[in-house]
């Protein structure tokens, strides 16, 4: 029996959220502003506490003041409302401990039990691991040891969930090793691997767009689609993340997770239901249908000095904490081919890079030419229809079609039908972290990556890493900051008689 109806049935359950790495950037820039906005939008359970867990000594008051400053700066909605913040900070606490010290977890347990009584959080826990990946295992081990991760078989009246940030492993073997370690302390069902791209409205809308619109679903195959381009471009460089990036590179930072998630959503077959596992099963099948990547169809690049927004910027090798002879890739373009009835013969060209002319993430579906070209434009073919799904910024969808220029002759001009979330719905879409944290509170894992998704992605990409380890690039830096990437990336697609879209 329930009093809830319709969409409200997704109401988040009472819980305590413990953020490990509470003094880090992710907490201040994303997690705390997300929690504040969830409260503001009435999405946060009324029975809720948030505990920041970190090494640095700090009082609750100091932590609250810092988080208020962060929320003021990074919140989606501005200015922050004093009354709401005041209510939120009454439920915000700081807990100081090293990640490897048992004592810190015992005191955390006591604290959480007190909160259960005082704030009615009912023993439900979310542990958000916003830390370096090398801390994941030790934190889980200690949480388990302290009895903070429940045995699902025995404990039915309350739950514990663990949100893990990317990267999940640095190759296939390490991903397996990490998973094996985690499973010693919790179950796969308790793990929520966050990929904030999946929390973006437009990524979620991919499913709606594909499966709730018969005109598109019926065209979504190799009979009508010539090829698909996925672009994940950033105009920013690596900023102060030099140390991290030197160990990661673009493949680990963007391709293995975000880009592969988008790719699988575009390529998957219709799920039998909207249940988390039904969707994730289809995503995995899509990833399994990808042919092994050909090394000759991969282009990696690294930016040199150039211009962004008219301002001179340094090359990757001149960035802070970067080896001046670094061979780490900041750009990657690849041709992905599927071996299944839907996509056989339809290449997916994927590119992701830093210091490109602008920040944009989009999926462009380029359709085949009509079977009979009645309206030939002189010696030129008409531009193909293109359906573009903009994931960020300026979320929306556009469709490029050919249209007759008014007048006596049959001259054609491409025009664009454009739908923009911002213009149509008039509100700023929620931040991805808001949706994902809320989903975790609800217990909906649809928008979190399952282990087999991660493994399949690594399985596909690890051979590249192995090859690169043996064959360091000789031409880095091979593109200027502010350009659309290396020349070889143009050649990759042009060899097939196609061209990158001007995003």
């Amino acid at each position: 029996m329930t009093l809830l109806e319709g969409q409200q049935s997704r109401l988040a359950q009472p819980c305590s959220l413990v953020v490990f790495g509470a003094t880090g950037d992710l907490t201040s820039r994303k997690i705390i502003p997300a929690l504040y906005n969830l409260l503001k939008d009435g999405q946060l359970p009324s029975l809720f506490t948030c505990i920041g867990f970190a090494r640095r000594p700090k009082t609750n008051e100091e932590f609250r003041a810092e988080m208020k400053e962060a929320a003021t700066k990074y919140s989606r909605t501005k200015p922050i409302e004093e009354a709401i913040w005041s209510h939120f900070q009454d439920h915000l606490f700081y807990h100081q401990s090293e990640f490897h010290e048992d004592e810190g977890y015992e005191t955390l347990k006591t604290l959480l039990q007190q909160f259960d009584i005082k704030y009615g959080t009912k023993g439900n826990r979310i542990f958000y691991l916003a830390t370096q990946p090398n801390s994941f295992t030790v934190i889980c081990e200690k949480l388990h040891k302290a009895g903070l991760i429940y045995d699902e078989k025995k404990v039915k009246d309350r739950w514990s969930r663990i949100i893990i940030e990317k990267p999940f492993g640095h190759d296939l073997a390490s991903a397996h090793a990490l998973q094996d370690e985690l499973l010693k302390h919790c179950t796969e069902k308790q793990i929520y691997r966050i990929d904030h791209y999946l929390g973006k409205e437009t990524v979620q809308n991919l499913l709606v767009f594909r499966f709730a619109n018969s005109i598109f679903e019926s065209l979504w195959n190799n009979r009508h689609i010539d090829h698909i381009q996925i672009t994940v471009a950033e105009d920013l460089g690596i900023g102060t993340r030099g140390k991290f990036y030197e160990n990661a590179g673009q493949l680990r930072d963007m391709i293995q997770n975000h880009t592969m998630q988008i790719l699988s959503l575009v390529a998957m077959e219709p799920p039998v239901s909207l249940e988390a596992d039904a969707i994730r099963d289809q995503k995995v099948k899509a990833l399994e249908a990808i042919k092994p990547l050909q090394l000759s169809k991969i282009v990696r690049g690294q930016y040199g000095p150039g211009l962004i927004n008219g301002q001179e910027v340094v090359g990757y090798r001149q960035e802070q904490d970067v080896n001046p002879a670094s061979t780490i890739e900041t750009y990657l373009a690849l041709k992905v081919e599927f071996e299944n009835p839907r996509w056989s013969g339809v290449p997916f060209y994927v590119r992701a890079g830093k210091r490109l002319p602008k920040k944009t993430t989009e999926v462009a579906v380029i359709f085949k030419e009509p079977p009979v070209t009645l309206f030939q434009n002189g010696n030129r073919k008409n531009p193909p229809n293109a359906l573009v799904i903009r994931i960020q910024p300026d979320e929306g969808t556009s469709l490029k079609i050919n249209c007759k220029v008014p007048g006596p002759s049959n001259i054609l001009q491409p025009v664009k039908m454009d739908f923009r979330y911002g213009s149509y719905f008039g509100t700023t879409p929620p931040e991805a972290y808001e949706r994902l944290i809320c989903d975790c509170m609800v217990g909906d894992s649809t928008l979190f990556a399952r282990e087999d998704e991660v493994f399949n992605s690594w399985k596909l990409l690890t051979p590249l890493l192995d090859d690169w380890a043996k064959n360091p690039p000789k031409d880095f830096p091979n593109y200027s900051a502010g350009s659309w990437g290396p020349k070889a990336a143009d050649q990759l697609i042009e060899a097939d008689g196609r061209k990158w879209r001007l995003s």
Partner: protein
Amino acid sequence: MLVSEIPAALVKLWDALEGTSKMRASLFNLLIVTPNNKRTAYVRDITLKVLERFPSRVIFTTIDKTLSDDTLTASVSLIPGAKGAYDVVCDFIDLQASKQAQAKIPFVILPHLLPDLPLYILWGEDPVQDNPISHQLEKWATRIIFDSEVTDNLPAFAKTLLEHANDCEIADLNWGRLESWRDLLASTFYSEERLETLKKAQKICITYNAYETPFFCHTKIQALYLQSWLATQLNWKLTKTEKEIFQYDSLTVELKAAKNQDLPPGTVISLDIFTPTDVHFAFSRDPKHPYHIRTLICDVEKCEIPTMFVFSKAKSGLSLVNEITHNGTSPHFLKVLEFLSKQRVL
């Protein structure tokens, strides 16, 4: 303003449209690259004429060679576009760059091109003088429209355009301006018989407007294009050139200069075709309506009733509009370029 301030300035302009009847629209990207000289105002004027017909996002780039430092500045505005049911406005981004700063232009422009819409470039610099930014922009261009007015060496210009044509669609403003004359001749010599008459013509006289203005001084180009077009389409064999005379076996083509302040500089004023059988095809402008062309065909015995052909597209700026809406590179124009590229000096 700094070029980094362009996005914020555009958003501010768009926000100001809220609640008004004005609507932003863009059918394509129009990039203009022009030196800062007496011709700049004219180029700006024809750009505005394009907007009246086709709303588009304009990036108007002026290279100012008088600036010695690394200057690159911008301004943005909304320009009224085509009149219709809505008040359409278009984004107009103005860039001013010193010679030293021009290498930055492709980097500045790329983020501001509207995706999935054609990019037409009006290249107002002389393409003969190699400019690295033209090659960078070329790969994104749907078509590049050159302006032969800016060159002092037409054969070299033609040769350069042919090189560009390998990678991109090309056109030229003067070629566009000649479209009405080409239509007129095609409709006059519509039959095999008439075409044969033209092919065997003895003398052709092309009178062009040699009246110069500060922004238009290479007045012979349209006349040269016209005679080259006839020669290449009718397979005449050039035997000799001398100043303004072209000798093709038994045919002489003469370009004659005349001055007429009422017509745009360089315009073909009249055309006379004489055949060995004493047939005279005279195409001349009506003195009262200079865009009305009177065609009179006479032989030794009689004259046909004169006919009138209206040059409806000849108003200023419409040649650029025409070039934009034409698709593909004209094969006729390519033949003309091949012909001209083989000449020594014109």
